[in-house]
Subunit: 301 residues, 3 copies
Amino acid sequence: MRRTVAFLLVAAAGTAGCGEESTPLPRDPLEPYPATGVTRTVELTVKETSWEVGPAAVYNAVTYNGQIPGPPIEVNAGDHVVIHLKNETKEPHSIHTHVVKFAKASDGTDDSVVAPGETGTVEWDAVFAGSFPYHDHADEAQGITKGLIGMLIVHAPDEKPATEHQVVLADFDPGNYASLPGVADPVTGEFPDGGTYHGGHQYMHTINGKGYEDAIPPFLGNVGDLSRWRVISIGTEFHTWHIHGHRWLGGDGQLTDNVALGPGQYTTFEFEEDNPGDWLIHCHVPTHMEGGMMARYVVSP
Amino acid sequence: MRRTVAFLLVAAAGTAGCGEESTPLPRDPLEPYPATGVTRTVELTVKETSWEVGPAAVYNAVTYNGQIPGPPIEVNAGDHVVIHLKNETKEPHSIHTHVVKFAKASDGTDDSVVAPGETGTVEWDAVFAGSFPYHDHADEAQGITKGLIGMLIVHAPDEKPATEHQVVLADFDPGNYASLPGVADPVTGEFPDGGTYHGGHQYMHTINGKGYEDAIPPFLGNVGDLSRWRVISIGTEFHTWHIHGHRWLGGDGQLTDNVALGPGQYTTFEFEEDNPGDWLIHCHVPTHMEGGMMARYVVSP
Amino acid sequence: MRRTVAFLLVAAAGTAGCGEESTPLPRDPLEPYPATGVTRTVELTVKETSWEVGPAAVYNAVTYNGQIPGPPIEVNAGDHVVIHLKNETKEPHSIHTHVVKFAKASDGTDDSVVAPGETGTVEWDAVFAGSFPYHDHADEAQGITKGLIGMLIVHAPDEKPATEHQVVLADFDPGNYASLPGVADPVTGEFPDGGTYHGGHQYMHTINGKGYEDAIPPFLGNVGDLSRWRVISIGTEFHTWHIHGHRWLGGDGQLTDNVALGPGQYTTFEFEEDNPGDWLIHCHVPTHMEGGMMARYVVSP
């Protein structure tokens, strides 16, 4: 599997004693970072929220702390994370994450689901660096679709300083909107004020909890940045993330400007920012683009 | 394309004569293993099968040897494989595989499709190691959806001993079920006994031919295992394979716990098992999770 | 991120002075090729076209130069590309590409959209090698679905001579066909002459602008070729590209014969051709295979 990389590391080490100065071996990503001794405590409340996805587009959401995505949980590799989850709704909910170490008792399933009205605690060892989703796992994926999603960011100690951008890609249920532009209320027959009717798939696909350029805050950068992107896909669909005017090395060693991420997948990539402009940034699936997953990345010279 | 890896191999070789002990070069995955001289003969019969996917969920399947997936074909790299395919149905069927070497005459298409009532033979040189799908290819993908799928495992000679897990992800046609829990027979109007109604997409997405935790045999492991996963996706949908509480190095060099596989794709990965518990393991696409693609991975301490 | 590869490059360089002949370092794919001083000028006209996708399957297309895909734009890395886009339709259209360098003013969005009846110019620096899509971006993805798609090929200076195959995967809107085999005209009630009825999803999924083996020109090769495949996926769906009887090293270091590409994704791979025959080559998604995305790769001995 990883034999090629492993061998090359050995070969490089084997030649290090050949009269040249020793070069340090690269770090194995599977090696946990040592504990920092720091514990970060996070207070999250699960609550029903009328979440504005865009003008006149209001979602009957269930959220962490009243927002979609929930607040970023940002820690250093090696930190211990304690999460107190208070459930103010009438359904069980939880918090589950990916990759970082936790025991079964902190998985956000089975015994770590928090009953209505209760508070539960889970604990993670954030000993692996990267960008990972956190989300509800109480009733399979129902909570994900309602808005119980967020990002866990674990900074490696030797991470280069960068301008970081967080991207949470999600899919919302059109039947769960309290109001949508241009759509009559099924009970009263009234249309909401304002907003723009975007077609049948409107507001089904969101970036950072919002739909369309007029609601999604633009990503901001400057020429000369080390531009780092932390992207999680945590909805029902397979998405791509495409940045106009830019390129980076994909996981397969080929240049790319359009990375694919299925539900529950995540990636972190970076590039040297060198191209000023007001660039489109979006999922390249046409119905998703048209359904809200289109934003701007504004790079100042 | 692969220039970077190729160069590094050359560089490592070029420095090997520098007074240091020679380190063996890694094996090029594209180099066929030498013939072992062993021929493995496999007898497969294609037959109509009432296949129980779960309690009260019975599929009008067509199978290899009465089971979904068909029996694993497990050989050593370099073995010659001879498959006698007997077709006991009224439609043409075949067996086709991926990556391992075969001539056009053994491709499972055109002249190697087996007519109803006949027996045909195909031969493969299993000279590449890995985990690959085998499946019907007589009438495009009709046979795949009926259940004519299975896994070919080719063990490399230097493979480390591991606890292996085989995962076959498939998608079944709801219109092809003889019975489904909570659904009245369209002719008699009667409901089947037993089973649990799982919603509209029930039993459309399966793991190793079964749906839901109560029917899919749990995957079993022990702390200290080298845990090796052979995963094939051989249905109609793009899936992911997510293991709670664990992580491995993805193909892009980043840590992952959730690999994506489209129809006809396959992967093999492994990790050191270190986390006891009764873990959920599933496709992370919500409708697939809810449609049956959810199981357990039980790790004993 | 790319620390492992970067380190290994440094280590190899560090050992180069150890009495051995210097081995050249591999090229960083992110490094732009130097300007060649050559400018290639391309004249493209956007026009409404009745495009025959197959017998009796005629698409109400909008095309670059009357064909789907548009003419390949084939240049050397380092060339400057000037595109004059003349819009002979009644809707705004544009040309946008991926990865190669351009300023915002040549992005094919906003100010570089060409109004009906006008001609506009965009300029790209093709300083990165590979195979990339070009496509309309005037009204999100409407133009893509109508047929405004094509391939940009940028040859690296040290590219080995190969037999090259260009593959453009696209998805067409069934509601946009002027005629389909076996389907009565909604106005006249008449059936078209000829063609073969392929089922409900017929002609929704195409290879190089055509559907099914009888219309898609076969790919042709010879044993002994270096067989290079340039594949872009530029429709609405996630596809795979599967070649029977062959294999290559996938981006994750494992052998594959079936690569996945979402909308707007692209890849280039190659293998030594060694297997004569009339091979099937197709997307492995069953509805796409059945919908037209099935062709032949004929390898002569």
